[in-house]
Amino acid sequence: MFDICELHEPETLLEAKRIFNADPGLKVIAGGTDVLIRMQHGGLAGAGLLSLRNLHELEEIQLLGDGTLSVGAMAPFAQIFQSELIQKLVPILGEAAVSMGGPQVRNVATIGGNLCNGAVSADSASTLFALDALLKLQTLDSERIIPMKDFYAGPGKVNLLPGELLVAILIPREGYEGMGGHYIKFAPRKAMDIATLGVAALCRIKDNCFQELRIGLGVAAPVPVRCFEAEAYAQGREVTLETVQEIARLALKPAKARSSWRASKEYREHLIEVLAQRAVAEAVKRAGGCCADEK
């Protein structure tokens, strides 16, 4: 039951921007795994759709001259997971990509769609948050590049201007270089499920001390969040089991867990702490560090 009044399928980004500029009321559709479900439930009734599926120029994953990794907004999750560049430079993003849905969903769902949908459970969001990723947004006659934290406005809401499209996700060299990372998706079942919690941890270790730590959480608050207190605490400290435990405790600070029939507040908070600890411990290992008790 799809109540669609018109469908635009431009072949180029320029054409897409022109169409969108002329009619900013259009609903942008990428892979369709969120938009079509909403429409099937009677949402967006009578919407006109602007489909980006023919914009193959937005599917590219490439390393720019300054070391920035650029991921096209229309890259599907299957492609992200399989990309050699991603496996080599930001394997944590590959982990997040492959945790999403099942094979069929990953073949069509795109990273740009995942972000623009604004869901707090988006598997790519907490990881990109932790990677300090930037979003490249374009209208017909303007371009801006903003950090992830400025993009999320509230549950299901993102800051896009009228006629504006997300064209690429930029991960600057400092975001990933020398970092070990780990993404944990926690969901009741092992596939085809929506995260109860997502934890992405990235760190750079030198002489077994945290040079830098970044933690992104999904489904812990109304929007994906970073754990700045925990990150600041880690700065310069030696990697020990106690340090990691304290980091996990502090990771709870930005969380605003609430009870729902999916999980109680108590259980969610318990999960944030234990999974933050696990994610950080694994990220440390991958960054070449070692928790004291494992020496």
């Binding site: 009741p188 079942r189 092992k190 596939a191 029939w261 108590e266 259980y267 318990h270 999960l271 999974l275």
Partner: protein, 745 residues
């Protein structure tokens, strides 16, 4: 033929995509029907308001006032209306009020949203305790849909003198069948001097629907036709509900004069159609100093929803199974199905037995702990053997070997070795704790009590003009392999190659009433009737001189061709006859509750992550005795599927209700396990042919649903130590809170 892995009869069409399901059936000019439902759990319907912006004159609209016959769905008790009329009481929040049909499905959906119901709301009863407490009287005078008492010996004097008395309370939640194909129905009513009602649908019990349509339209036998289409699963979920949606589709067709298609989407199907009954079981058991069971008292309560539907018979099966596989001289069972203002639950694989067996099998582990005995040993000391009597007084007449069944399961899972290993590894500091658990149980084959005698099923075989043989039965194919198994049984009885036997389309104009496709009865009960019919068919060919024994397949085929050419139609029927040594008294609940039982011993190994409280089932062994196995591949598939559903019920599947409505009515938030969440399920059959079934076969479909949940709970306790594991599903959230109970004393 029996015992062979014959190729599935319907497999090819399914694989090639040529199988025709209800929604695939083309009928020119068909309208799309939708159902307008209440949204409040209880109240009096005052007014139906047709909103703005809809061209209502384009719609076919059916209300209760339109119904030509009786506005009651034919069932065990005829208490449920097809539609609630003005001034009548709404009794649950998904209650059908009004039916709409339009040629454009989107338009029909828009109109559904535009109808507003004016209802004087009444206070509702939403759970078992509120119903028992008579906070409101919503059904009869006592809120009871059915009450059963089973008595054997006298437990009263035992409690004071027994060495041990153990009390426990157990709860299980609702469960959705989650067949892939939602409920679907297509109806065509031809009105005239002789009104004729036909439906094509996804349904398990053609003659239930047939009876319901006769009553709804006030028509005689011959003017109602029900055809079972290819079915995408059912598991009991299409046992009684199709009587409702077939009636709705037919009413719309009757009023519009056009064919009407009524296809639920997933959300409507999950919210409105039947589920497994939620349950609460209180058990009290007494043991002597050696651990022999002396007395059992059970208070078994099911939440039956707003109408009786199948609750009386679900309750009956649950009550009979609550004593489990144990010998007990003194028994009191009090079973009640209570009314609540929720959509009526119904049949789901197991039919009351998984609920009561969860209670008794969990309770046995609790008793073992209290008695300081190993759970295996306690079971061994109390198992039923040949000559023992069950709670209803039924004497075990078969060569039952429960110790052998249990020992095989224990051996397969290396019970002793792995338990010893876990005892060491569980003391280490890591978050993963492992445990092994066991459940031993039975499942009664066929209907409870006099059910088979009441239905008096008929099935037959027909010779066709090409010399092949066709099976005539109303039993439906829902993925379980009925077509294959029936063809195997008939081929075996006739001594023919499997390819010469096929199964007729299930159409009430063409096939006799072999009863509903439920209760693990098709292979054993209908199969046995078919065996008789096939032998009769062969004998009549011989007696009439068309065939001489012994014969070859070619000679048989030639004889059938010749007989059909001479006689026109060549059919032979068989009918159910109660075996001579079986008796049942429905008033006292004494006697042979079932002609026989299938028996199982399941063992599970779990790993619990004490950081997240996630449970992973690492190994699962399912050992069962189901008489003789007709088709090993299909039988193993039945067991694996049932175990998967049982594990889902035990660990994940939770129907969340708010004000009597299911709120997680999507596949994305009602969590059934995927293959990634399940272990390899190791299936072992110990065969013990039983005289009542064809070639010695017993029932199999429901048995595997009974064992997994208690085996998992027992395994969890083995992993974590004494814990209040008295409720399924054992979600991580629930496990966390139960572990904290222990931590906080």
């Amino acid at each position: 033929m029996i015992g062979a892995n014959s190729v599935r009869k319907e497999g090819r069409a399914k694989v090639l995509g040529t199988a025709i399901y209800t929604d695939d059936k083309f009928m020119p000019g068909a309208l799309h029907g939708v159902t307008v439902r209440s949204s409040v759990p209880r109240g009096i319907l005052r007014e139906i308001v047709f909103g703005e912006g809809i061209a209502w004159d384009e719609f076919t609209i059916v209300t209760a006032a339109d119904i030509p016959g009786t506005n009651r769905v034919a069932s065990v008790v005829d208490d449920q209306p097809f539609l609630v009329g003005l001034g009548e009481e709404i009794t649950h929040p998904e209650q059908p009020i009004l039916l709409l049909a339009h040629s454009d499905r989107a338009e029909a959906e828009r109109a559904r949203a535009a109808v507003r119901l004016v209802v004087d709301e009444l206070p509702a009863i939403l759970d078992i305790q509120a119903s028992l407490d008579l906070e409101q009287v919503i059904y009869s005078t006592d809120n009871l849909l059915k009450e059963i008492r089973i008595e054997k010996g006298d437990p009263a004097p035992i409690w004071a003198q027994a060495a041990h008395v153990v009390v426990g309370e157990y709860r299980t939640g609702a469960q959705e069948q989650m067949y892939l194909e939602p409920n679907a129905m297509l109806a065509l009513v031809e009105r005239g001097a002789e009104t004729r009602v036909s439906v094509w649908g996804s349904l398990q019990c053609p003659y239930y629907v047939h009876g319901a349509l006769k009553q709804l339209f006030g028509l005689p036998e011959g003017r109602v036709r029900v055809v079972a289409m290819e079915m995408g699963g059912a598991f009991g979920g299409k046992e009684d509900y199709p009587s409702v949606n077939a009636g709705h589709a037919a009413l719309l067709s009757w009023k519009s004069g056009l064919p009407v298609r009524l296809i639920y989407d997933r959300e409507e199907d999950l919210a409105c159609t039947t589920k497994r009954h939620p349950s609460r079981t209180r058990l009290r058991t007494a043991f002597d100093a050696e651990g022999h069971l002396l007395a059992l008292e059970a208070d078994f309560v099911l939440d039956g929803g707003a109408y009786a539907t199948l609750s009386p018979v679900v309750l009956s099966r649950g009550a009979v199974h609550v004593g489990g596989v144990y010998r007990c001289p003194n028994v009191r069972i009090h079973a009640r199905a209570v009314a609540t203002n929720t959509p009526p639950p119904g049949a789901f694989r197991g039919f009351g037995a998984p609920q009561s067996l969860f209670a008794i099998e969990r309770h046995m582990d609790l008793c073992a702990r209290r008695l300081g005995l190993d759970a295996v040993e306690l079971r061994r000391r109390n198992f039923l053997h040949m000559g023992d009597t069950m709670a209803t007084g039924q004497v075990i007449r078969e060569d039952l070997d429960l110790p052998g069944l249990m020992d095989r399961a224990l051996a397969e899972i290396h019970y002793a070795d792995r338990r010893a290993a876990h005892a060491i590894t569980n003391t280490e500091s890591g978050p993963i704790k492992r445990g092994l658990g066991l459940a031993v149980f039975m499942h009664g084959c066929g209907f409870t009590g006099n059910g088979e005698s009441h239905v008096a099923s008929v099935a037959g075989v027909e010779g066709l003009s090409d010399g092949t043989v066709s099976v005539l039965a109303a039993s439906t194919e829902m993925g379980q392999g009925k077509n294959t198994v029936f063809a195997q049984i008939v081929a075996e009885a006739l001594g023919l190659p499997y390819e010469l036997v096929d199964v007729a389309c299930v159409d009430t104009d063409h096939v006799p009433n072999s009863g509903p496709t439920v209760a693990s009865r098709s292979t054993m009960m209908v199969g046995r009737i078919l065996e008789d019919a096939a032998i009769g068919f062969k004998q009549s060919l011989v007696q009439q001189g068309f065939l001489q024994e012994p014969y070859t397949a070619e000679a048989f085929q030639a004889a059938v061709k010749k007989a059909v050419a001479h006689l026109g139609r060549l059919r032979c029927y068989g009918q159910y006859h109660r075996p001579p040594n079986i008796s049942w008294d429905d008033k006292t609940y004494r006697g042979d509750a079932y002609p026989t039982y299938s028996w199982g011993a399941y063992a599970a190994e779990v790993a619990v992550d004490l950081d997240t409280y996630e449970v992973r089932v690492e190994d699962f062994v399912a050992v069962q005795e189901v008489g003789r196995v007709v088709n090993p591949t299909l039988a193993a598939g039945q067991i694996e599927g049932g175990v998967a559903q049982g594990i889902g019920w035990g660990l994940w599947e939770e129907v969340t209700m708010k004000q009597g409505r299911m709120v997680n009515n999507q596949m994305t938030n009602y969590i059934i396990p995927t293959s990634a969440d399940l272990p390899r399920i190791r299936v072992v059959f110990l065969e013990n042919a039983h005289h009542a079934g064809p070639g010695g076969a017993k029932g199999i479909g429901e048995l595997p649903m009974d064992g997994p949940a208690p085996a998992l709970a027992n395994a969890l306790e083995n992993a974590l130590g004494p814990l209040r594991l008295d409720e399924v599903p054992m979600t991580p959230d629930r496990l966390l809170s139960r572990c904290e109970e222990v931590a906080h004393g």
